[in-house]
Symmetry: C2
Subunit: 357 residues, 2 copies
């Protein structure tokens, strides 16, 4: 483990993206989106993934210089065709389309096809905050999750983010996978040689397991809830809604057809759509009530919840977005810690492309 | 336990609603919405609640003849003022406003204030299906749920429903509380003298319990996930989003200020809004891609998931909405079972108002 400054990691990512052919503005944007994950503590979705994106590009599965376009629209909706580009670039483009529509008619809703993995959901939802809009962001992802009663992996961790502006209080920012735990947490337990809690993973026969290697060994992540008795049909249902809004609505691949993020696995034959899919929403709060009124009540909501009497052994109720924001402040100042295998991976990646890490 | 025909229960509910002063069309609609819960197996939200609504009316907390109106709007949004009416009547009105807007600009989004409990979320979302729209419905509710690390009850079971049309397959209809289990399931376990599984309830000190009386004794229901390790911060986050969209956006009461459904508990002093809040969305699928194309892919999505290889001991993967639809067909034919205490309650209610049960 070693700490790196944001600027150092940003510069390396930016240089690498130029090397694979991204236009300058795209490389800047993609580096910023990718690193927002590291700043906010979603380490699995940040710079640790850079070599994965590059390998997909090497396989011809990412278009480094896509022509993004709105392929279909109504006053409040659009479909964006990502032209096989980096999701890190496609997603902010689509979110801006949603926000433009919200300016015109109150809300905007954009479904995206032909894209790739887009980093953390929260980054895109939060773009809405500066305009006093509620931002919504979701995406489907490589199939690693088994629906309730399914032995097969049919869904991704399909995250949902909702960002809601307040006035004096920092914004409410929910950013959650629709599984009990994300894959990144499994990897941490693997490294430590520890078991998982119940309800995170099933083995390849479809039985519950607490092995942190369960997914690697052919099993699956479980939907939020873990099993039927604890509500996993709800986590599965939410993941399904994310999949349908992101991909069935846009014309991207859905369910088990979503192309895997890892370059050593080929997409399935007979794909049902183009690339992976995202879904974005932007709602002007003043399309419902005056913005100052709304944000004043959000302050009151946040303060009431934050000051609730805590359960034994806990300090306080956490507002969604608080831990990520605090970590972001800290890591901007003190640097971003990277694990040794990640440092090694980035060093080798740099060598291959003549960029010093 | 005894079976009653749909027509019998409908007639009784309709007559009762006339007695408390509902206009004829409202009484018809409210009876239909209420009984859709019984047909679909959400027994806790159906006719068993009728006397609860009546008691609220007796306390002056329900306006039987409300003047519903759009109090604010943009091309794709509206706020509906429910004028203290039955949510069973306010909600379909608001959903129709959303659908009208979707016809015009692709999508419609309506936040509702000054309403009351609206029955099952799914009924309202499903209204969109006949117009080839995706329907979304959510509501806040009496505070019975403790956020992660909170000893206090600050949220309701705050359900989310999403209804998505298909072509040859029946529609996908998710209708879920954002808690591990709904209160109705607790009541069933209480009657049987059984404990709950882990992760459903905490006691009044804020510690986990498996007592089915936990909530009755001053504890709280837990958000989907049950505890932090199993993702309860996600269930809490979802319940919070429902609360904010339903009430902070519209000007209804939110969080602990939501007026309790039980008439023997008074609303808190210094309310932060009017009545309880709902949120509805309608999205025309052909605002994204041709409807036939979308619905064809929904058929494929549904068939792929339904035919997935099941886990040991299970028959198949369930598509959200399948169990409720099957039960609805059965109960329309064979009748709706009511528990003895419910029969007794309805009989007494009828006697009081001169309506024979």
């Amino acid at each position: 483990m070693q700490q790196f400054s944001y600027d150092h990691l940003y510069r390396f990512t930016y240089d690498m993206l130029l090397k694979i052919g991204c236009p300058e503005a795209d490389a800047q944007l993609a580096a910023k989106v990718l690193l927002s994950a590291d700043l906010r503590g979603v380490d699995s979705h940040g710079v640790a993934r850079l070599s994965g994106y590059v390998r997909l590009w090497e396989k011809g599965r990412i278009n480094a210089a896509p022509k993004l376009r709105v392929s279909y629209e109504t006053p409040s909706t659009a479909v964006v065709d990502g032209d096989g580009g980096l999701g890190l670039v496609v997603a902010p483009f689509a979110m801006k389309v949603a926000m433009e529509k919200a300016k015109q008619v109150g809300t905007g809703w954009v479904s995206v096809k032909n894209s790739n993995h887009y980093g953390i959901a929260g980054y895109h939802a939060m773009l809405a905050l500066t305009q006093d809009m509620i931002g919504i962001s979701m995406t489907n992802a490589s199939p690693l999750v088994a629906p309730t009663f399914s032995k097969e992996r049919l869904l991704g961790t399909n995250p949902i983010s909702v960002a809601i502006p307040a006035n004096e209080e920092p914004a409410f920012v929910l950013d959650m996978a629709t599984t009990t735990a994300a894959n990144g947490k499994l990897e941490m337990l693997q490294r430590k040689g520890q078991d998982t809690p119940s309800g995170w993973v099933q083995d390849k026969s479809g039985n519950p397991t607490t092995s942190a290697n369960g997914v690697k060994d052919g099993g699956a992540l479980l939907p939020l809830g873990g099993d039927r008795e604890h509500g996993s049909h709800k986590g599965y249902g939410l993941g399904a809604v994310v999949d349908i809004l992101s991909a069935v609505l846009s014309g991207a691949n859905y369910g088990p057809w979503v192309p895997p993020f890892v370059a050593f696995l080929d997409p399935l034959p007979n794909l049902v759509g183009e690339g992976i899919g995202h879904f974005f929403g932007a709602m002007r709060v003043d399309a419902f009530r005056p913005a100052e009124e709304f944000k004043g009540h959000m302050d009151q909501w946040i303060r009431r919840f934050r000051s609730a009497e805590p359960t034994p052994g806990h300090e306080k109720v956490v507002i969604p977005g608080d831990p990520e924001r605090e970590l972001e402040l800290l890591r901007k100042k003190e640097g971003i810690p990277l694990l040794d295998p990640v440092i090694q991976d980035l060093t080798e990646l740099g060598k291959k492309f003549g960029v010093s890490f």
